[in-house]
């Protein structure tokens, strides 16, 4: 990078204070949607889910395996949360409990991540955006 380029942003201008409220409202409205990749898989769980990058494919394989093991309807969400791809479990018909687990660690999601997931569920139709 040249010296002059280092003096200037190489991305775009900064947000003005007056624009902050709008940005926060937008991000809240679509919280959990988008990110690196987003997809909702509805019943029945498909045998194949298409992804455009290898990282996602790996996550999908894990997701499919976990889904099979748990006999759950699984929703997949690939937003960056700091903990990898999320798995969202919903109870199958007749079951009561809902499980939320991380695709990589298998650990339960934090309450914040669960909120993220619930926001995602409200969106009727999604696609990859990253």
């Amino acid at each position: 990078m040249s010296k002059i380029q280092a003096m200037f942003s190489a991305r775009g201008r900064r947000m003005f204070a007056s624009e902050r409220e709008d940005a926060d409202a937008f991000n809240e409205k679509y919280a959990g949607v988008g990110g690196n990749a987003v997809e909702i898989v509805k019943k029945p769980l498909p045998k194949q889910v298409v992804s455009r990058n290898s990282a996602m494919r790996v996550a999908i394989k894990k997701f499919e395996k976990l889904a099979e093991d748990r006999s759950e309807l699984v929703l997949l969400e690939g937003a960056k949360t700091g903990s990898g791809f999320l798995l969202i479990g919903e109870p199958l018909q007749g079951q009561q409990e809902v499980t939320y687990r991380d695709a990589k660690s298998g650990e339960a999601l934090t309450p914040q991540e669960r909120v993220l997931v619930k926001n995602l569920v409200r969106v009727p139709k999604l696609n990859f955006l990253g």
Partner: protein
């Protein structure tokens, strides 16, 4: 090539539809195609459909049928209804049905046959127009003076992707555009095709450029790295629609030794010659005692006094931009100059810079376009080398190849590999792009992008002779003003203008010469104006006015006056009698 082949080429991994696998390209005999889900993000739809339309040439079929104008009005109403029902992440059924019809019913249609199929044409037009209309405002900022103006979530999503902020706003971005600012597309990589925002809809000719108001279709980024940058400033004097530019045609003198031979002409075995190359040495940045001119010197002795004079001439309004010609400065001078101009309230600096890349050991002829108040700036390299011929060298009185008197051509010794072309949205509805000299004349690759995007203002930095209408910069500027309708400012240095005029007078005694250091060419009335520097003057204030412009597409969609055109207002010479810095 079939429609399906285009889709596979652009979306090799599919559109990741729920419960839908993207089938590999089937054999040509395949019949019904499995569903390929409609992309959710409008620019992706535009990229696919636009590519089909462009490659098939079927845009010639999209003008209204004069015998069926009522039907066409119904089509326009239909597009309006689709756009009103389209919200982020939820494509209306009216669009997905058209998309599904495209991939299920017409996937195997050859591009050469598209024009022959009325149903297919109708589908393509509805998809293209809908994606374009719902993309209004993408790449631009909100109208902060009119908060009630329409501002879609699509536009807000792109806006948030355009900001520098790496804090919580970006961290929580719910829509991440992976290729932005290179392309608006989400699922289509820029090495396939690029979609960028758009300023001007071409109103002449009949191409895909005349079919969209808000999105432009560009070739893949490997040919040209085009970008779209949001650089608006917070305080806008939009109550006054002028754009004021301080033109500084520096240097005013080119000392001996500024042009040197970098490589002599070499004869090859096959009776051809490998060309000779010349190099520029910026001796005009040295004082008579050999000391290097600093940015502070340049500011205090030249530019700031001109700014004061220009501000007074504009009734107290400081120029928005300062423009210096090709190769006028070096990087260190710019580094020292920019804070002083920013402090003075200048919004942007566009300057030609000659720079040596220490890592790759190559010279670069650069343009810096620096938005000082919003602290965003980029450098771009000249994309084509200048070739001086003997006649031009004589007109400038330069001679640096005495050992090869038969040689008549010398190429500029610069690297032209990295081809970046940033477009800058510097007002909520106005964009500009910078070009360096030869790049204004060469058709590829920049002109293709400029014609597609249609920036409101093209600033061309030159080291050239007088900017007369009949000379090459004036001719090429007129082409851009004609289509797509850009305003073009070309600026050269006073030194080469004076040298050229001196030679002209010597060869044609009594000839009339003008110090036309710059030229303004605009779309309105195709006006082209000499910007002549008075004798003894060292700068110029150019004022242009920004007007709302009404545009329509080939299919008669209105842009509701959302675009702008820049129109010449006035110019005046500055600094008459002032001492000149650097080579005065």
């Amino acid at each position: 090539m079939r429609i399906l082949d285009v889709i596979h080429q652009l979306l090799p991994d599919g559109t990741s539809s729920p419960a839908t696998n993207f089938a590999p390209a089937p054999a040509a005999t395949a019949g019904h195609e499995p569903g390929i889900a409609c992309p959710v993000w409008p620019p992706d739809i535009f990229a696919v459909v636009g590519t089909i339309v462009d490659r098939s040439g079927c845009y010639t079929e999209f003008s209204p049928n004069r015998e069926e104008l009522v039907l066409h009005e119904q089509y326009l109403d239909r597009i309006d209804a689709i756009v009103k029902s389209w919200v982020l992440f939820a494509v209306p059924d009216a669009v997905t049905l058209q998309w599904d019809a495209l991939v299920n019913n017409f996937a195997n249609v050859e591009l050469s046959q598209v024009k022959e199929n009325a149903d297919l044409l109708n589908i393509l037009l509805v998809l293209l127009a809908s994606a374009d209309e719902v993309s209004q405002g993408l790449g631009w900022e909100r109208d902060r003076l009119n908060p009630d103006a329409h501002w879609s979530d699509f536009a807000q999503a792109v806006f948030l992707n355009s900001l520098e902020d790496a804090d919580d706003v970006r961290a929580h971005l719910s829509v991440v555009l992976p290729h932005w600012p290179r392309s608006l597309c989400s699922t289509i990589a820029p090495d396939r095709v690029v979609v960028l925002p758009k300023s001007i809809t071409a109103d002449k000719g009949c191409t895909i450029r005349s079919l969209s108001h808000n999105l432009s279709l560009l070739p893949c980024h490997t040919r040209l790295d085009a970008e779209w940058r949001l650089v608006t400033r917070e305080v806008s004097d939009r109550l006054n629609d002028d754009v004021r530019l301080l033109l500084v045609p520096f240097p005013y003198d080119i000392p001996d030794g500024s042009f040197t031979l970098a490589a002599k002409r070499t004869r090859l075995k096959n009776d051809t010659t490998h060309a000779a190359f010349f190099r520029l040495n910026q001796h005009w940045l040295n004082s008579e005692t050999g000391e290097r001119l600093t940015g502070a010197d340049l500011a205090n002795q030249l530019i700031l006094p001109l700014l004061v004079e220009a501000t007074a001439a504009a009734g107290g309004l400081i120029p928005h931009g300062v423009v210096l010609p090709e190769c006028a400065l070096d990087e260190d001078t710019v580094i020292e100059l920019t804070p002083l101009l920013a402090e003075a309230g200048v919004e942007f600096l566009i300057a030609g810079v000659l720079e040596f890349d220490q890592v790759k050991k190559r010279w670069l002829n650069k343009a810096y376009t620096l938005f000082l108040q919003s602290e965003v700036g980029f450098a771009q390299n000249k994309q084509h080398r200048w070739r001086i011929d003997k006649k031009q060298a004589e007109s400038y009185g330069i001679s640096f190849d005495g050992d090869d008197p038969g040689n008549e051509q010398w190429w500029e010794d610069i690297d032209v590999n990295e081809r970046l072309l940033p477009f800058y949205a510097f007002r909520k509805d106005t964009s500009l792009v910078t070009l360096i000299c030869e790049d204004l004349a060469r058709m590829e690759p920049a002109m293709t992008a400029i014609r597609a995007v249609g920036p409101n203002l093209v600033v061309a930095l030159l080291m050239d002779g007088p900017q007369l209408a009949a000379r090459w910069p004036g001719r090429y500027a007129a082409v851009l003003a004609d289509e797509p309708g850009c305003a073009v400012l070309s600026l050269t240095c006073a030194a080469t203008v004076d040298l050229s005029n001196k030679h002209h007078k010597a060869s044609k005694p009594g000839a009339d010469t003008k110090r036309v250091v710059a030229r303004w060419t605009q779309a309105r009335d195709l006006l082209s104006i000499d910007l002549e520097l008075k004798d003894g003057a060292i700068g110029m204030l150019l004022t242009v006015e920004s007007y709302q412009k009404h545009q329509t597409t080939l299919d008669n969609r209105s842009d509701h006056q959302n675009s702008r055109e820049l129109v010449y207002k006035s110019h005046s010479s500055l600094g008459v009698g002032q001492p000149q810095a650097g080579g005065a």
